[in-house]
């Protein structure tokens, strides 16, 4: 069953393109990475999903409910952390859980306290005295305390230290394991690489890739560094088709491997090499390619 679905979702800001014909479908228990550079349309998509913006064309639904017309109803089962989080300056975690709990009609105190302990957030500090990281933690707690079926996180790690980023990743994994769905927007690959099952890449308002992370990994090239034993063997080398030379510097040569590692190992065993280093698949290069080399949209 799909938890979130968009069909040809389009929204422009006057002449400026917001998003164009975005199609997404996310199932239950999935952690979905939504990647793109700044200004690509990630936040616009999220604002359409949250019912803040009315689509110019197409439609979006969450849990079968229309994101614009039934926005209030669907948010019972949605937790949302805005990209540029602003909280009321008078709020403390305690007051926030009390007020938000009253609005949601559930007691969020215990769940909120547990999350506050996990994220190491003091309960009675006012927002106006909080650091950016603390505010972000409070935003996360408010988004997660009611254990929503869909958690929408717009660049959630900004302001968090590495330990808290890891804690967030753990929380997200736990939610997904319990069947909850997470929509994780980010502009950095490393954040979603270890967390998401599937990734969509958005560029200039259009989805240019929507694939499982494993598929992308399979497509990614490995970086291979060869060090030849002597100049003669370096000069006499016959390069196989799966290896592309990127850079040569004397006996040292940096290449990119296309495809699996077995043919490389077999080929290398017949060469006179002093050293060989094979790095893991470089997803970053795939994303850079998507970001940079796509032809301009008309």
């Amino acid at each position: 069953m799909s938890i979130l679905r968009t069909e040809q979702l389009t929204r422009n800001y006057g002449r400026r393109i917001g998003i164009q014909g975005v199609d997404l479908e996310i199932g239950a228990g999935e952690v979905f990475g939504f990647l793109g550079p700044n200004g690509a349309g990630k936040t616009t998509t999220i604002r359409l999903l949250m019912g803040f913006l009315q689509p110019d064309a197409g439609r979006a639904s969450i849990l079968g409910l229309d994101c614009w017309r039934q926005s209030a109803l669907l948010k019972r089962d949605v937790g949302y952390l805005p990209g540029d989080l602003r909280l009321y300056p008078w709020l403390t975690a305690r007051k926030a859980l009390h007020v938000f709990g009253k609005v949601r009609g559930v007691d969020l105190t215990n769940a909120g306290r547990e999350l506050a302990e996990r994220f190491r957030l003091e309960f009675d500090v006012r927002v106006q005295k909080m650091s950016r990281g603390m505010r972000q933690k409070l935003g996360l707690i408010l988004a997660m305390a009611h254990r929503p079926q869909l958690l929408v996180l717009d660049e959630p790690t900004s302001g968090l230290d590495p330990l808290m980023q890891e804690e967030l990743a753990r929380s997200v994994r736990e939610l997904a394991a319990a069947g909850h769905t997470v929509f994780f927007s980010s502009h950095t690959l490393s954040e979603v690489e270890n967390l998401c099952d599937r990734v969509a890449i958005v560029r200039e308002g259009r989805i240019i890739a929507d694939e499982r992370l494993e598929t992308l990994r399979g497509r990614a090239r490995r970086s291979v560094q060869l060090v030849f034993a002597d100049q003669q063997s370096a000069d006499a080398i016959a390069w196989p088709s799966f290896l592309h030379v990127v850079e040569r510097d004397g006996l040292r040569c940096r290449c990119e491997l296309e495809g699996p590692t077995a043919p490389l190992v077999q080929w290398a065993s017949g060469q006179l090499l002093a050293d060989i280093t094979i790095s893991p698949p470089d997803l970053e290069s795939v994303f850079h390619k998507y970001y940079q080399s796509l032809p301009e949209t008309p």
Partner: protein
């Protein structure tokens, strides 16, 4: 809805208390001072007859040849300080949503909750109605504090004063309703406040201009003071129902229109 009111209460109690205390203080002071200025006022009007239209515009009634004691009491309810405080509270309160929430970026968190925009909006409207009542009652309490120092013949009956208070509340509602409507069209609170204030001030000035310049009289009906008649009420003990109905209609139409705009518009904080 209770959660929304709780949030609004946390945000507005101090502001409302401050406005209420200011009204209490000023109305107490003016109630004490105004009876002691009667002779001075009559002298001013005698020496400078052009001042009379100003008073007429403010009091919403013709002064005639003499300012009597009752009419003098009406000056409390049209004093610029009192009116400025009442209007300022209405404008400051009613531009909090949606313009204020969008401006400070908190609307994302607010609308991330399972509440409709209409519920958020009308929750705020109800809180505003109560807050307006509170500040006006505090102002009236201030008046009562020093009313004992006023000579007995000058003291209007309580029932007439309550009618004036009711008329003033209707003015408050009309100004607030207008501010809600302007706020619902805006993303910036400062701009919404400036526009609402400019409209109210223009309508206030229109009343004065109409006293001196005949062509402006055609548009006097657009002035808010045209429908606020404390002197007439204090003299006749009759609520100007037509004026009150107009003020309430303006408030209701503006609030409902504002609510519809707020519910249907796209909200962009970036």
């Amino acid at each position: 809805m209770r959660g929304l009111w709780l949030k609004t209460w946390y945000e507005v109690w101090l502001m409302t208390l401050l406005f209420g205390c200011a009204l209490l203080g000023f109305s107490a002071l003016l109630t004490y001072v105004i009876p002691r200025m009667q002779e001075g006022m009559l002298e001013i009007i005698e020496r400078m007859p052009f001042v009379k239209p100003f008073f007429t515009a403010m009091l919403g009634t013709e002064l005639g040849d003499q300012i009597n004691a009752r009419m003098l009491q009406a000056f409390l309810w049209v004093h610029p300080t009192i009116l400025a405080l009442v209007w300022a509270h209405a404008i400051v309160f009613c531009t909090r949503l949606p313009a204020g929430e969008i401006d400070r970026g908190t609307i994302d968190v607010l609308l991330g909750l399972p509440v409709s925009r209409r519920a958020v909006y009308y929750g705020e409207v109800i809180a505003w109605l109560v807050a307006g009542l509170v500040i006006l009652l505090l102002g009236f309490a201030g008046h009562c504090l020093t009313a004992g120092s006023t000579p007995a013949p000058m003291r209007p009956p309580l029932s007439r004063e309550m009618l004036v208070l009711g008329n003033l509340y209707c003015v408050y509602l009309a100004v607030g309703g207008l501010a809600f409507f302007v706020s619902s069209l805006s993303d910036r609170r400062g701009r919404a406040m400036a526009v609402a204030f400019a409209i109210v001030l223009s309508s206030f000035l229109l009343n004065f201009v109409a006293q001196f310049w005949a062509p402006a009289r055609k548009f006097a009906c657009l002035g808010v003071m045209e429908y606020y008649r404390p002197a007439q009420i204090l003299q006749s003990n009759v609520l100007p129902t037509a004026d009150v109905a107009i003020l309430l209609s303006v408030a209701a139409v503006a609030v409902v229109l504002g609510g519809e705009v707020a519910a249907r518009r796209s909200i962009c904080t970036v």
